[in-house]
Amino acid sequence: MSELKGIYALWYREMKVFLRERSRVISSIINPLLWLLIIGGGLGSAVSFGGINYQTFIYPGILLQTALFSSIFFGVYIVWDKKIDFMKEVLVAPMRRTSLFVGKIFGGSTDTLLQILILFLIGFVFINIGLMPGLNLNVLSVAISLIFLLVTTIGLVSIGLIIGSQMESPEGFQLIISFLIFPMFFLSGALFPISNLPAWLAPFIFVNPVSYAVDGVRGALLGFSQFNITLDFGVICLFSIVMILIGTYAFKKMKI
């Protein structure tokens, strides 16, 4: 009971903070819009894959991009918590480290999912004004995508928290995650199809869990996927479970 209350308390705090930081909410809308309109629109005038409009093609990729950036970046707040000593207040409370980790996962995942829901709204608007033909947003396709996105988000938030728990300074955190986020994004097939890749590139993409998430969401929303959707789901579940285990361990070892 007390652990649940503690988890709720941490989640409540993350929500308040998220909703009060307007700049975070706004940038979470602007950034994907820029990608969809400029990269999607610009490249789309010259490129299309398998008869699918390029803007439509990258939409699932942009959903994952939002999940990737927002989730991993969430780890920086644990570094801030340490800096402002809020972490001490939490660590000295009668709550297990595992619950702290779970509370943070809930907080980070909710942040990310709210941003993703906004992106789905933008998707609806785009379909209705005639952009992104071929994008199929219905209850089932959105539900399947959300499950994929949620599982992936949990794994990605864990990565951010693992790094954050070991870092002392926000600057250091940002440096490390930029080495992580960009390869994970570019090597995921978010922007191009992953069939017929050059032999040297393919292995990088196949070891990247985000590739399977992009593939699964693309399968649900566009009916166009490279792997079997069950394989996609299996891989991201495995990825998230492993990250949760590492994260729990990292939090137990975390020093103030």
Partner: protein
């Protein structure tokens, strides 16, 4: 029955012992003071007792729970007000307290009642719905204090509780601390730089220097131990070696450009002393204070080592920078 039992507690940073084989027993319901110059090991001791850092060797039990093997139960038994602010500045004062109530699993009704109580105590009731970002340094301090008091723990640790507060607020907070100890039988461990605070509040205190306890006892006893009253003299032609020969002069030390003498029964010997010294520019006599005790045992005045990088400094700093950290 001791509620806190510290056995050979040691913390080394590299080879330097910040806390050096500390042994101490604190009784239930006691207000216990830890005094010492900066860097003496007070905060390190507190962090070990509150399970936030591991000791290098030795251990302690709080409420019969071992800090190494049962940290979770220790945390259930304690509350702490840190030297540095640890509230979330994007949340309001009220929200910070509510969060604390949840973290400590307080029933809703008691939580709300206590929030009202402590907000009133630290005089923040009308500001409870403002974000902490907008609070002044002193207000943040008061909020931290309210939070630490809120869940009525068995043992409450207060690290410099009234640093940077005005005299009225300090007075109210002292009263509340005393009330908590007497009525709720809460044991209170307090570190402070204010000697008047230690004198007024503490049943017993320990002066720590370089990680070791140099003296332990009640403020009254410690003052009495100095063996007399303090006489401050200012004179151009003092003969120190002759003064030393007087039987009632217990100790001679120099305070700035004056001479401090510890005199047994000063009221009786003052005339004699003045006759002996001859012409003086000024003379001052007072019964020993904890300041004198502190000076005697650490050889330093506490103000010399005034807190650098202390909570108050940081709070001021944060305010100057606008405090937008998150």
């Amino acid at each position: 029955m001791a509620i806190i039992e510290i056995k050979e507690l040691t913390k080394k940073f590299n080879k330097l012992a910040a806390v050096d084989a500390l042994n101490l027993q604190i009784k239930e319901g006691e207000i216990f003071g830890l005094l010492g110059p900066n860097g003496a090991g007070k905060t390190t001791t507190l962090l070990m007792l509150t399970t936030l850092i591991q000791s290098t060797s030795g251990t302690a039990t709080i409420n019969n729970y071992d800090i190494h093997t049962q940290p979770h139960n220790v945390r259930k038994s304690i509350g702490i007000v840190f030297q540095d602010p640890s509230s979330d500045e994007i949340l309001t004062g009220y929200e910070n307290l509510k969060l604390h109530g949840w973290l400590y699993d307080m029933p809703d009704i008691i939580r709300e009642k206590r929030i009202k109580e402590v907000l009133d105590l630290v005089d923040l009731t009308n500001r409870q719905n403002d974000r902490v970002k907008k609070y002044s340094g002193g207000m943040r301090r008061r909020l931290e204090l309210a939070r630490g008091l809120m869940h009525h723990p068995k043992v409450l640790f207060l690290d410099e509780p009234t640093l940077g507060l005005d005299p009225q607020t300090r007075g109210t907070i002292w009263e509340y601390i005393q009330k908590l100890a007497r009525e709720k039988n809460i044991t209170i461990i307090i570190t402070t730089h204010y000697m008047d605070e230690a004198d007024k509040l503490c049943d017993r205190l320990a002066i720590i220097d370089q990680g070791k306890i140099v003296i332990l006892g009640s403020p009254k006893k410690l003052k009495k131990n100095l063996g007399g009253d303090i006489v401050r003299l200012k004179s151009t032609k003092l003969n120190i070696s002759k003064l030393k020969k007087l039987s009632y002069v217990k100790k001679i030390s120099s305070c700035n450009d004056e001479i401090c003498l510890t005199i047994e029964n000063a009221n009786k010997h003052l005339q004699e002393l003045l006759n002996f010294v001859g012409k003086v520019d000024s003379v001052e006599i007072h019964s020993p204070t904890l300041d004198d005790v502190f000076l005697h045992y650490t050889g330093r005045k506490i103000r010399e080592s005034a807190p650098e990088g202390s909570w108050a400094d940081k709070a001021m700093h944060a305010n100057i920078q606008g405090g937008t950290k998150r």
